[in-house]
Amino acid sequence: MVDSSQSMQAEQLKPPITRIGVIGWLRANLFSSVFNSVLTIVTLYFLWKIVPAFVRWAFIDSSWDTTGAACRAAGGACWSIVTKNLRFIIFGFFPYESQWRPLVAMIILFILLLLSSNRRFWKKSLGYAWLLGLFGMGLLLKGGLFGLSSVESTKWSGLPLTLLLSVFGLTAAYPLGIALALGRQSRMPAIKSLCIVYIETIRGVPLISLLFMSSVMFPLFLPEGITINNILRAQVAIILFTAAYIAEVVRGGLQAIGRGQYEAAESMGLNYYQKMRLIILPQALKIVIPPTVGILISAFKDTSLVVIIGLYDLLKTTQSTLSDPRWMGFSIEAYIFIALIYFAGCFSMSSYSRRLERELYRGN
């Protein structure tokens, strides 16, 4: 009897209750010490100063569908700069009557990205869907077939250009970075030193200088009469730049994999490519998901640097809108709008990476 009641007690003891109700929570989290109490009060003061004023500016006094002059009269936020210039900010110089084409292309891209984010759909058919989608998007942007009017690539601008540079920049840079990381670990001295020189050189220069080189210096070396599309050159510069950073992150992941995994794979008779593809890379890449996504996010934002070689990406079309005298002085509103677009891109990348980490968790 005594024994059983004792064991009952031992099993059923609950943790001691240390907080009760709202007051308990407040005390534990906001006023646990003098320093914390001061911090709480200072924070509350600033929130009280900022939040109501911001809400008033952004929502109550704001104008949504007026002219610039009417905005100035109203005094609040002038969201009209976004709504009235939306099509220019998003599509830039793409011919006005054909702007449905980049819109459809972007929708195709989003659908494909959404499908690809679910690992259950990673089948051959998805690969074909991408091929078809890429062809479709190219056709929509370029035109010249099936009765679509031809559009010069110099007219590609705004959000489609930003997406083009970043989506293809990142998807091409990732495998290239992995190849460079493997090359840097290679036992063949020529390959190894080539990869080291490449990585260290690229990491040693700013992206801006690479972009300048690709747009100003590179054409000088080409024979007369041959030109390479400006967008393509920027795209290549972004890929080369991002790949060098990814290579170093992946190398870190490779170093985290113990000797035993290599030996187990080798002792089975797997050759180098099988060993890397099936055993080492899946583990190494999983480990480095957080820093890799960090690089992809910053590369996505860095695509806005193409303004300096005269490409009209999302940031540049917004700036052009701001230089219109009718809309001068409303830069905050316009920048908030594109900040939201960039944020949506970055945030979906980082939440996807967190989901991927959860899905790939294997209890170790």
Binding site: E263, A265, E266, M268, Q274, Q283
Partner: protein
């Protein structure tokens, strides 16, 4: 059980040689780890290698499947000489299974995937057939119900049994065991040894680096004692334990048996 296996050990009717090592030397830098190793292993033979740490016993069996490279002498496995030829190395590795001290399962793959990977990619066995074989061997190491789990969810003893099953799935001609029980908690050693004894009973050729003297007595044909890179003594288990010849063997045995 002891008797049956011991009998095998006694009447030693060796099959044809499957591993022949002649005058093999190995250096790590300037350090002479293996000195003039001569060893012939016959089909169906089970050999235990023991010796103090740093004596080169692990290095010796790692040379047999080229996880370590020897610098002098010859190693012939199943009629193929180990050279720098990658094709030969891969061919030998297909025929030689290895079980490691730290299991080295692939943590990102399920138990079943760990077992089918080699057969599917190296032996080009169809996936369904490889899974059938995998389940057969998992059954054999008494762990079939864990097939869909991941290595990180299993205990050390279970992981080592999976590792043994993984090697068996390649249907190897020789199995190498590199201190298979030394990383295990004491209560898990027996479950792994039992699996190894089952394997011995089926006539698998085994080379085991281990200090498990019980296993050596009941399952081995020969015990090798190594010290400072040399094979100092070699005998059938009974003689080895009861009548060691070399001073260093006596010292070693007195240390591990007490």
């Amino acid at each position: 059980m002891d008797n049956e296996l011991q009998k095998n050990g006694d009447d030693r009717s060796p099959g044809e040689p499957i591993i022949e090592i002649t005058e093999m030397h190995k250096w790590f830098g300037d350090f002479h780890v293996l000195k003039n190793i001569n060893l012939t292993v016959h089909k169906g033979e089970r050999i235990i290698i023991c010796g103090p740490s740093g004596s080169g016993k692990s290095t010796l069996i790692r040379c047999i499947n080229r996880l370590e490279e020897h610098q002098k002498g010859r190693i012939i496995v199943d009629g193929i000489e180990l050279t720098n030829d990658l094709k030969n190395i891969e061919k030998i590795r297909e025929e030689v299974g290895m079980v490691f001290q730290h299991f080295n399962l692939f943590p990102h793959l399920s138990i079943l995937e760990n077992l089918t990977l080699g057969p599917v990619w190296v032996r080009k066995v169809p996936k369904a057939e490889a899974e059938e074989t995998a389940m057969y061997y998992l059954e054999k190491v008494h762990i079939a119900e864990q097939a869909l789990k991941y290595p990180g969810q299993l205990s050390g003893g279970q992981q080592q049994r999976v590792a043994i099953a993984r090697s068996l799935c390649m249907r190897p001609k020789v199995m190498l065991f590199d201190e298979p029980t030394s990383a295990l908690d004491p209560e898990m050693i027996k479950e792994v040894l039992d699996v190894m004894i089952d394997l011995a009973r089926e006539g698998m050729t085994m080379i085991v680096v281990s200090h498990e003297m019980g296993f050596a007595k009941s399952a081995a044909h020969r015990v090798l004692f190594m010290d400072e890179g040399e094979i100092l003594e070699e005998n059938i288990p009974v003689e080895f334990f009861e009548n060691p010849q070399h001073e260093r063997t006596k010292l070693f045995l007195s240390q591990i048996l007490h």
